[in-house]
């Protein structure tokens, strides 16, 4: 099944631009006291490009959601006034509106590039032929024309994902495009390409464009109009974009609201200290996530007290990996990282060997995502956590007695202006508050080295200023600060020494992602071309009869047949074993269990305490093990030759399984790789907080469960955003079309027949050999 992209066509995506008008519009979310929007009057003519600004909480995102038609209307929410798109009320409008949000990972729905571009248009029920015509121009318009349609979306960079999402929006041919901080979560080098893609898309389609951003520089020259929402409701300013450069009062007001106004750097004190004693010394240090993962270039670096260092370098250079290694969280791949004698104290000179409780009192690491490091239920506990851990690890250290901890926590709460939120759950704070808290929780253990991964990424100007000020104070107190960052203003403010990490010596896509992957590209095997449902039916027909009997003959028939069929699925014996070994191991364990505790018969072979292993129980064990393996391994043929998306498409189109559930499940499954990565990161992030491999089995179990809960939080957050993306792409509202149609032919029938013959043959063989043994007798 291929999508058949067709020949290169001239880039044409047509839309009919629509106007937007708000008359006294207001909206209150369910279970909120204050309205998110109130008394909004605004009129945007068709085809205009608008930059929408306002302080946080002014209702910008709510307005975009309303325009996209995805605000949930129920008996607890409340709308007032009118909001129209193209003259139609937004709550009943049926025309396509495109919405892009900031998290690139959740702007993509499907696992293959063509499928993702087509997703929205399919939901709108557009003729598949027409959708196929739109795909190439849409990809070209966003600068992704060179991508193969079968390319896996998981392998795109953040900026590319955003542009792909934009292509999907273009393929819906919307009259209005809404972008909610599209560049906030992508690397700075990807910003111009994304901005240009947005502008060329708007230009070529003529669609009305509304962009919400807190970094104004990229957009100020490109839009027709700037609208600033007032915090209480309504429009505060409605001006020409030039005013962002010329109107001093407006510039000051926006800057105070936390926006990045072109040419304004938030004011901080200037750091001008002199470096102190050497703390860490890296020699020929090479970092890697694991033995098989890509390695960074070798680094020589001396870290001194009271000095700042910025690690820079291209994507994939391994900056974060190097930071984790410097932080004592990853073992150096080669070369050495030594702590000075004074710094290490009674510990060995290798930070990686330090126990978590000792590590955090010396080297603190702040991860990019603050939520990865929250381990308690309140802001106060969060701040107390690290010093308590440090105290438990080193009861003699006077810095961590109860009184001093309390004093330090109070001081940090005041310093961060979080006193009123001391009892709040850390996860419920705003983005900026979370960022400040995450730095403070690490500072609370008073480490001499502080390492931060992209600390200013996506932050507004106010959080940026406070963060930089906090770090300058740490520097002045003699702490060494190491940051992975692209932010030049940041490194200038800290007077940081810059380390340019060269591109790695080798990168291969196969080694990039640890853990399981559901939709790895399939080879060109014969079975790959077979209808997924036919394969499923064949596996069922071949294996389910085995359930009825406990004998080694029928199981062996299926096992041998599977091995014979391996070439059809393009599998060699070795790659088969790599997939199937857990199944084989499980079969062996089941067999052993029965041999041990199964009913005894015949000669006694072995005495083990109260159990005896006999000839009879060994034979039963062998049958049990072979049956378990026979039931399991035919599935490997299916998995190795079937893309889950194709299986989903077939389930929905041919078996009429509701597409909402099938596609919802597939969209969730796309998160698998991401969540696996997050699970690994969580283990490191929590070790950096002092949670980890120590304590009683009960404490370890608690730490494990805590990590699982933290994973669930991220899963639910991502899924919530993904659901918004899907709804904005018209998902789940009505009949949809599919660009990948499913066929059922003679070959598919043949595969089913083969499965049936095998299943029946296995049973017949057992009956013939006299080993058939009905399990329910």
């Amino acid at each position: 099944m291929s999508a058949g992209l067709g020949e290169q066509r001239p880039a044409t995506v047509h839309t009919q631009a629509v106007a937007v008008s708000a008359e006294d519009f207001g909206w209150r979310h369910a279970e909120r006291e204050r309205p998110a929007l109130q008394g909004l009057n605004l009129s945007i003519p068709a085809g205009q490009k608008v930059l929408l600004l306002g302080p946080s909480g002014a209702g910008k995102s709510t307005l975009l959601y309303a325009l996209a038609g995805i605000l949930e209307v129920d008996e607890l929410s409340e709308a007032s006034g009118a909001l129209r798109v193209g003259g139609q009320d937004v709550f009943t409008a049926k025309q396509p509106v495109g919405l892009m949000q900031q998290d690139p990972e959740t702007q993509i729905v499907q696992s293959r590039v063509v499928d993702d571009v087509a997703f929205g248009a399919e939901n709108l029920g557009v003729d598949p032929e027409l959708i196929r015509e739109r795909i190439t121009p849409a990809l070209q318009a966003v600068g992704l024309g060179a991508l193969d349609g079968e390319h896996r979306t998981a392998h795109l960079s953040g900026g590319q994902k955003q542009r792909l999402a934009l292509a999907g929006i273009l393929a819906m041919e919307p009259g209005l495009m809404l972008l909610d901080e599209p560049t906030a979560n992508i690397d700075p080098e990807g910003v111009p390409a994304l901005r240009d893609a947005v502008l060329s898309a708007a230009e070529s389609t003529g669609a009305t464009l509304i962009v919400v951003e807190h970094r104004l520089e990229a957009w100020a020259d490109a839009v027709d109009r700037v609208v600033v929402l007032a915090p209480g409701g309504g429009v505060a300013h409605d001006v020409d974009p030039q005013a962002l450069f010329t109107d001093r009062q407006l510039r000051a007001e926006l800057s105070a609201a936390g926006l990045w106004v072109p040419g304004i750097v938030p004011e901080t004190t200037v750091f001008a200290g002199t470096p102190g004693a050497e703390l860490l010394h890296a020699q020929d240090l090479v970092a890697a996530r694991s033995a098989r993962a890509p390695k960074t270039a070798a680094v020589d670096l001396k870290i001194r007290a009271g000095a700042a260092y910025c690690i820079r370098g291209a994507n994939g250079a391994g900056k974060s990996t190097l930071a984790l290694t410097l932080g004592g969280l990853l073992e150096p791949s080669s070369g050495t990282l030594r702590a000075s004698e004074d710094f290490a104290g009674e510990l060995s000179e290798q930070p990686f060997s330090w126990k978590a409780g000792k590590l955090i009192a010396r080297i603190g690491t702040v991860f990019q995502e603050p939520e990865h490091q929250f381990v308690t239920q309140s802001v106060r506990e969060e701040l107390e956590f690290a010093p308590r851990r440090a105290h438990a690890a080193d009861p003699a250290a006077p810095a961590f007695d109860e009184e001093r901890i309390a004093a330090r926590v109070d001081q940090l709460l005041r310093r961060l202006r979080l006193e009123d939120l001391a009892e709040a759950n850390p996860f419920t704070l705003s983005g900026g508050e979370k960022r400040r808290l995450s730095v403070a929780t690490v500072l609370a253990a008073d480490p001499q080295v502080l390492i931060l991964d992209e600390p200013t990424f996506g932050q507004d100007a106010n959080t940026w200023r406070e963060l930089v000020q906090l770090l300058i104070e740490a520097l002045e107190a003699g702490t060494a600060v190491i940051a992975v960052t692209h932010d030049e203003q940041f490194s200038a403010a800290l007077a940081a020494q810059e380390l340019q990490l060269p591109a790695p010596r080798e990168t291969s896509e196969a080694t990039r992602r640890p853990g399981p992957m559901l939709d790895a590209p399939l080879g060109e095997s014969w079975l790959a071309g077979i209808n997924p449902l036919a394969k499923l039916a064949a596996v069922a027909a071949a294996t389910l009869p085995l359930v009825s009997t406990m004998d080694w003959v029928s199981a062996s028939v299926i096992i041998v047949a599977t091995l014979v069929a391996l070439p059809l699925a393009g599998l060699r014996l070795l790659s088969f074993l790599r997939r199937a070994w857990p199944l084989l191991a499980a079969g062996a364990v089941a067999g052993w269990g029965v041999a041990l505790v199964g009913e005894d018969a015949g000669r006694i072979l072995l005495h083990l305490g109260v159990f005896t292993v006999t000839e009879g129980s060994v034979a039963a064990g062998a049958a049990t093990g072979l049956r378990a393996i026979g039931l399991a391994i035919p599935m490997v043929l299916l998995v190795a030759s079937t893309n889950p998306s194709d299986l989903g498409g077939a389930l929905s189109q041919q078996l009429r399984v509701p597409h909402r559930f099938v596609l919802g499940a597939l969209a969730g499954m796309r998160l698998l790789g991401l969540l696996t990565e997050e699970f690994t990161t969580l283990a490191l992030a929590r070790r950096a907080r002092g949670v980890g491999n120590f304590g009683s089995p009960l404490q370890r179990l608690r730490a494990q469960l805590g990590q699982c809960l933290a994973l669930l939080v991220q899963a639910v957050r991502r899924a919530s955003r993904l659901a918004v993306t899907m709804e904005a792409k018209g998902f789940g509202t009505g009949e949809r079309t599919w660009i990948r149609s499913v066929h059922f032919g003679l070959r598919d029938l043949l595969v089913i027949v083969a499965g049936v013959v095998l299943g029946a043959g296995a049973i017949a063989a057992a009956l013939g050999a006299g080993t058939f043994h009905l399990v329910w007798s």
């Binding site: 399981p516 559901l518 199944l583 399991a632 559930f661 698998l672 969540l675 809960l709 669930l712």
Partner: protein, 207 residues
């Protein structure tokens, strides 16, 4: 606190479907991580293999977790089945029969939530759901799929009992605690369970 709280709607919204799917996927990740250490754990049961059922509750937790978080008819079944499909696709389980197991285990939890008409999500309901999930699963493994056909009758009975107890704790108590933990973080804002942490353990929300 207002008592009106959230009115249950039977139909699934897009956000319900996607979050339920993500719960199943996250469970798949936990299974995957668990598989890596399962070798060590199962070594502990070499002396008495049927006791391995004491940790089988591990495979069942998506059922009650999904139901407690999504609070819609079919959530337990959907999450457990999808988690089973994912582990089948990852090739770490028992092939096609894992789907059958997932279906039956999910059903065990589902009947409990259906019996209280999807209105009570208290600790006792969660414990019972976990227990039934383990019982349905253990019963199927011992007597229908008959993986351990050669076990003595007592061993088979022991397997079912151990799996039920395991289900009650790992797939009943833990999901209930997890739901409250999640609600406390505000992550469940879009769902019917968003106030789960404010509900009593025994009486739940008053309505």
């Amino acid at each position: 606190m207002s008592t009106s709280a959230i009115k249950p709607r039977a139909s699934w919204r897009v956000v319900d479907i996607v979050i339920a799917s993500a719960i199943a996927v996250a469970s798949g990740v936990v299974f995957w991580a668990w598989n890596a250490s399962y070798g060590f754990v199962s070594l502990g049961f070499v002396a008495f293999p049927p006791a391995a059922a004491f940790v089988s509750g591990m495979w069942l937790f998506p059922a009650a977790l999904g139901a407690l978080i999504i609070r819609k008819p079919g959530a337990a079944l959907y999450c457990e089945l999808l988690a089973a499909i994912i582990s089948a696709l990852l090739g770490s389980q028992w092939g096609l029969t894992v789907l059958l197991s997932g279906l039956v285990q999910g059903l065990g939890a589902e009947v409990v939530f259906a019996a209280v008409r999807y209105r009570k999500f208290t600790l006792p309901v969660a414990l019972l759901a976990g227990l039934m999930s383990g019982f349905f699963g253990g019963f199927t493994e011992a007597y229908v799929l008959a993986y351990y056909e050669a076990y003595t009758p007592f061993m088979k009975f022991f397997h079912v009992l151990a799996m039920s107890i395991s289900g009650m704790i790992i797939a009943g108590l833990l999901p209930w605690l997890a739901t409250r933990g999640l609600a406390r973080t505000g992550a469940l804002g879009a769902l019917a369970s968003r106030r789960a942490h404010l509900e009593g353990a025994w009486r739940g929300q008053s309505r």
